[in-house]
Amino acid sequence: MHMSIPASTTAEAFEAESLAPEAAASVRPAAAWRRLVGHRSAVLGLSVLTIYAVASIVGPILFPFNPGQNQLTTVLFAPGQEGHVLGTDNFGRDELLLLVYGARYTLSLGVMAVALGIIVGVPLGSVSGYFGGWADIIIQRFTDVLLAFPPIVLALALVAGLGVGLRNVVIAVGVSSVPSFVRLVRADSLRLRELPFVEAARALGVSPWRILLRHVIPNAIAPVIVQATLQMGFAILLAASLGFFGLGVQPPTPEWGELLGEARNYIFSDPNLATFPGLAIFAAVLAFNLVGDGLRDALDPRLG
C-alpha cells in the first residue's frame, strides 16, 4: 500500500536511526549470548528445548523400543499402572516412550521444513531486494500469491497432491514458510544496498553476485535466525496438524500429531491419551516462541 503520513518526528528519528553506521555492524555473538541468557523466558524456552533434544538423542539408546510392535496384554493402561508412568496407548505401547521417540520426528520435521524455507526464501529475497526491477516484481507477485493461501490450506493441498509421509510433509510445511523469509530478507537487502560499504564494494568493481554472497546476505542473517526460531514453532504446529488429520507422517511412526489424531478415537474412554502428546507439542512450540522473542531482543537491542 502506498501511503504517506505527514512527516512526524518519529519518522525522522527512525530514518536517522536506520542510517546510523551501527545499523550494518554485525552482532557480536558473545554480547548477544549474554543478553540471551539474561532473558528469563528465553532461558525457560532453551531449557525445554535442551530437555527435548537430550531425550530424543539419549532416550532411544537407553530404552530400545519398537513402536511398530503391539503389546496386546497392556492395552490402554492408566497413567502409573504397572510402571507405565504415562500409561499405554491402544496398541499397548508405553506412552512416555512413544513421546520420547516421537520427539525426534517432530523436532526434525520442524528443522527440515524451516531449512527448506531458508534455502528457497533467502536467495529469492536477497535477489528481489538487491537487484529490484523485473526480478523483484516477479518474486513479489509470486510471494503475494503464496501468502493468499492460509498455510494449513496450502499444506493440505500439497499433501493431497504429493501424498502423505515424512518427505512430503517437510515439503508442504517448508513451502508455507518460504514467503516470510523472502519478505524479511528483501527488506534488509533493500536497506543494505544503499549503505556505504556495499557501495564501496560496487565502486571497486566487485561482481553483483559476490556482493550479494559476501556482503548483503551475511549482514541480513541476524533477523533470519530470529525468524527461523519463530517459524520452527509454527512449522511444528503445522506438521502436527497434518499428522492429526492422518495426512502427515504415518503410523506406526510416533509423531506427536499422529499420536494425538489416534488418541482422538479414545477421547471418551481414555482422555489422558490425548492430553500428553498435545502437551508435548504445546511445550515445544511455546519454547521456540520464547527463545525466538529472546533472540530478537538479544540480536537487535534497538527493538527492545
Partner: protein, 306 residues
C-alpha cells in the same frame, strides 16, 4: 478517493489471476493421474480413457488452462467426483457454517482482545499485565486441535455443558468458536496494549485528564478511538487466519463447514472439490485484504493516497 479505490481493486486482479494459475498447475503438475484416481482401482483402461476425455485431460496443457480460466469466469468449478453435484453447490451449502463460525469467533476475539489489551495498558507492569501479555504467547503456541480436544473432555464429557460435536443445537457453536478465537485474542490484546500505551502518553490525553474528564471517558473516547487503526490491521489479518484455523477447528468439532469439507474431500480424493476450495480460500484472503485497505482510507483521513 475514487481513483484510489479503483486502482486498489485493479491491483488485486493480478494476484487473483496468480492464485487461479497456481491452483491450476498444482492440480496438473503434481504426480499422479487424476483420471485414474477418479475412475478407481477397478476401472478398465477404457473407462480411465473415457474419464480423461470427459475431464479434458487429453487436451494440450494450454487448452486446458484456457478452458479452466474460461469456466472460472462463469463460476464453473466442475463437478464433485464424490457426489456428482456441481462443486459450487457443494461449497455453497457449507460456506454459511464457516462464515458463521468465523464471525462469532472474531466477535469473541475482538471483544476479549481489546478489553484485555486496555486493561494491560492501564495496569501496566502489574501482574495482570504480565498474565495478559503471557496469554498472547500461549495463544499462538497452542495447537488448536489439542485445545479443542481438551475443551471436549472438560465441557462435553465431564461437565455436560455443551454438545461435543456437530451443529444441531444453538449451543453447538460455543466450543468451536471459543477454540478458534483463542489464537486471535492474544494477538489483538498485544496490539491493543502497545497501541494504547503510545496514545495514552500523548498530549491530548493529558489535556483531557487535566480538564477533569472522567477516566472512563478518557480511555474509551480519547485514547481508544485514536489507538484503533493498528488494531484494525491485526483484526483484518486475523479474519484470514480464522478461515485457516476453521479447517482444523471444524474437523475437531465435526462442524459442517468448508474446512471440514476440504479435509473430507482429500480423503475421498475428490480433486475437483479440493481444487475449488483452495481457490476459494485464496480468493477470500485477497478480497479481505482489499477490504481492510479500503477501510483504512475511510477511517483515517490523515492517510493521503497518491
Amino acid at each position: 478517493m475514487i481513483t484510489y479505490v479503483a486502482r486498489r481493486v485493479l491491483a488485486g486482479v493480478p494476484t487473483l489471476w496468480g492464485v487461479a494459475t497456481v491452483v491450476f498447475f498444482m492440480a496438473r503438475l503434481l504426480p499422479g493421474d487424476p483420471a485414474r484416481v477418479i475412475a478407481g482401482v477397478l476401472a478398465s483402461p477404457e473407462d480411465v480413457e473415457r474419464i480423461r476425455k470427459q475431464m479434458g485431460l487429453d487436451q494440450p496443457l494450454w487448452v486446458q488452462y484456457l478452458d479452466f480460466m474460461g469456466s472460472l469466469l462463469h463460476l464453473d468449478l466442475g463437478t464433485s467426483a464424490h457426489t456428482n453435484a456441481p462443486v459450487v453447490e457443494e461449497i455453497g451449502s457449507r460456506l454459511p457454517y464457516t462464515i458463521e463460525l468465523a464471525l462469532v469467533a472474531l466477535a469473541i476475539a475482538i471483544t476479549a482482545g481489546i478489553l484485555a489489551g486496555i486493561v494491560a495498558a492501564i495496569r501496566r507492569n502489574t501482574w495482570l499485565d504480565l498474565v495478559i501479555s503471557g496469554l498472547s504467547v500461549f495463544g499462538v503456541s497452542m495447537p488448536v486441535y489439542w485445545l479443542g480436544l481438551m475443551m471436549i473432555i472438560l465441557f462435553a464429557i465431564d461437565l455436560h455443558l455443551f454438545p461435543a460435536a456437530g451443529a444441531d443445537e444453538p449451543a453447538s457453536i460455543v466450543m468451536p468458536a471459543l477454540t478458534l478465537a483463542l489464537f486471535s485474542v492474544g494477538l489483538i490484546a498485544r496490539m491493543t496494549r502497545s497501541s494504547m500505551l503510545e496514545v495514552l502518553g500523548q498530549d491530548y490525553v493529558r489535556t483531557a485528564r487535566a480538564k477533569g474528564a472522567p477516566f472512563r471517558v478518557v480511555v474509551f473516547r480519547h485514547a481508544l478511538r485514536n489507538a484503533l487503526l493498528p488494531i484494525m490491521t491485526v483484526i483484518g489479518l486475523q479474519f484470514g487466519a480464522l478461515l485457516g484455523g476453521a479447517v482444523v477447528t471444524e474437523t475437531v468439532f465435526a462442524w459442517p463447514g468448508v474446512g471440514r469439507l476440504l479435509v473430507d474431500s482429500i480423503f475421498f480424493r475428490d480433486y475437483p472439490v479440493v481444487q475449488g476450495l483452495v481457490l476459494m480460500f485464496g480468493t477470500t484472503f485477497v478480497v479481505i485484504n482489499l477490504l481492510v485497505d479500503l477501510t483504512y482510507a475511510y477511517v483515517d483521513p490523515r492517510i493521503h493516497y497518491s
